[in-house]
Symmetry: C2
Subunit: 281 residues, 2 copies
């Protein structure tokens, strides 16, 4: 059986940067080191960092001293200012593309635009983009967009891992909701490419395996995209979850991974699939 | 046979205003009175104004003195300044909604946006919106939008009589062509309503008659919209073009008219349809 890995799978620029900044802080900073929530949505990577001493706090009130690493999804101004006010050292590992979405949302709001964030309600990136804005709506479907009131000026930003299809459908509805609609397409190029390559590979294989944290929104989107192309799509966090029966009769399997899935994990899953097949011959 | 007239048919605010301004100029101004091209796209109305003394010039170079009425579709800055430089008195009858589209396009261009005008190439309104802008593209379909190069900032305005459906399709394509897409939905509310009411009535009748100038873009759009709902759709400029056989077996006929079609003409057509039926009984 042939096993192919989708191009663009695995760690993106923002995730690599966040891990590098956290590791440097572990080496250099004195006192305890925290993140608010998991640094990235991958249990293996977070587990490794925890072993090295990184602690996960639920909120600023749980931290009294040391260093806070702002995770790749970003945090609100309120959190960052709150930490500084408590003399906590802040290392900002927010993905620069997420930062841009935050800045566009804030600038739209300050210029009098009604702000719409197209993304998953409750996702930390989306929460941080919307945080502190006075006139903001988070929505994930065009049906929700239908319910908005008409205004003169409306501004739109997207969760960086949003699908272009959803953004497009929402924008079409919003065209009828404002005289001026200003859209910042903040979907990151890497996400766009990864989704396109996953869709392509899924169309060529008999079975597809998506590797990534079950709390990773961008991995969930890869799973959806793949499943629309090939029904035999499975989502695992590690190679140990693979089941031999998934590959019965298959001659070509595909593997893809989210932005927070390390490359070694994707390769491990691909190698294990090849070995399952070898044993079943 | 029942004959219904679509709500919102006939003269819109901008057309009424243009005719009022032209008639006042005919009464008040001294010397010859001109428009560049027809004041509105309706032969009967233009014929009446010509009888009263309004002359149609092809370009500024044909006018040496007197008054120039800028028609509802607007004109470029170059034309208006050219007329003033020749000491020609200018009466600006540009529809205020068209004026707004012109202003948005100019302001977008001055702020460094690549400007896209969604409309019919060669239509006087569209030509006037695009005139004098350095970085502008006029396009009427999403296929044409596919060919545009990616830029950082793109601004969109629409011909005021454009269909919302076409604007939406183009905007979806342009989302992938710019990091920031700023859309002014300059389709006028009256156009939107007239199209919606025509679509509704076309779905209820056996035959539909669209009344308006054959050079009127917004009338052409009503014809397309109606024909998609009821195949027995006919386009006439006057009641004399009606044919008895169009209404054979029909129990309910609909009449609609473009923004430049006078109300008396629409009523005349409706009355004639009723009389055709009476005679054929």
């Amino acid at each position: 059986m042939e096993v192919s890995i989708a191009k663009g799978s695995g760690f993106c620029f923002g995730v690599k940067r966040a891990i590098r900044l956290a590791e440097r802080a572990l080496e250099e900073s004195e006192g305890p080191l925290y993140t608010l929530g998991e640094l990235i949505h991958n249990p293996q990577v977070v587990g490794e960092l925890e072993k090295k001493g990184l602690m996960i706090a639920a909120s600023i009130s749980d931290i009294d001293r040391g260093t806070l690493v702002i995770r790749s999804h970003g945090a609100s101004e309120e959190v960052i200012e709150g930490a500084k006010a408590k003399n906590i050292n802040v290392v900002d590992a927010t993905c620069p593309f997420v930062k841009k979405a935050q800045e566009h949302a804030r600038s739209l709001s300050e210029s009098g635009y009604r702000v719409v964030v197209v993304g998953d309600k409750g996702h930390p990136e989306v929460d941080a983009i919307a945080a502190g804005l006075s006139d903001v709506t988070v929505l994930g479907t065009e049906v929700e967009a239908e319910h908005l009131k008409k205004v003169e000026k409306m501004g739109v930003v997207a969760q960086t891992t949003q699908s272009v299809e959803t953004l497009s459908k929402v924008v079409v509805v919003l065209l009828g909701k404002a005289q001026e609609l200003r859209v910042y397409n903040t979907i990151c190029e890497t996400t766009f490419q990864r989704q396109a390559e996953t869709m392509k590979l899924a169309g060529e294989v008999d079975v597809m395996v998506v590797v990534g944290g079950k709390n990773s929104a961008n991995t969930a989107r890869l799973y959806d995209i793949s499943r629309r192309r090939v029904r035999r799509t499975h989502w695992v966090e590690s190679a140990s979850e693979l089941k031999r029966e998934w590959f019965k009769g298959a001659v070509h399997a595909g593997v893809t991974g989210g932005a927070s899935t390390p490359d070694w994990l994707i390769r491990e899953v691909a190698n294990r699939i090849a070995s399952i097949e070898a044993r079943s011959k």
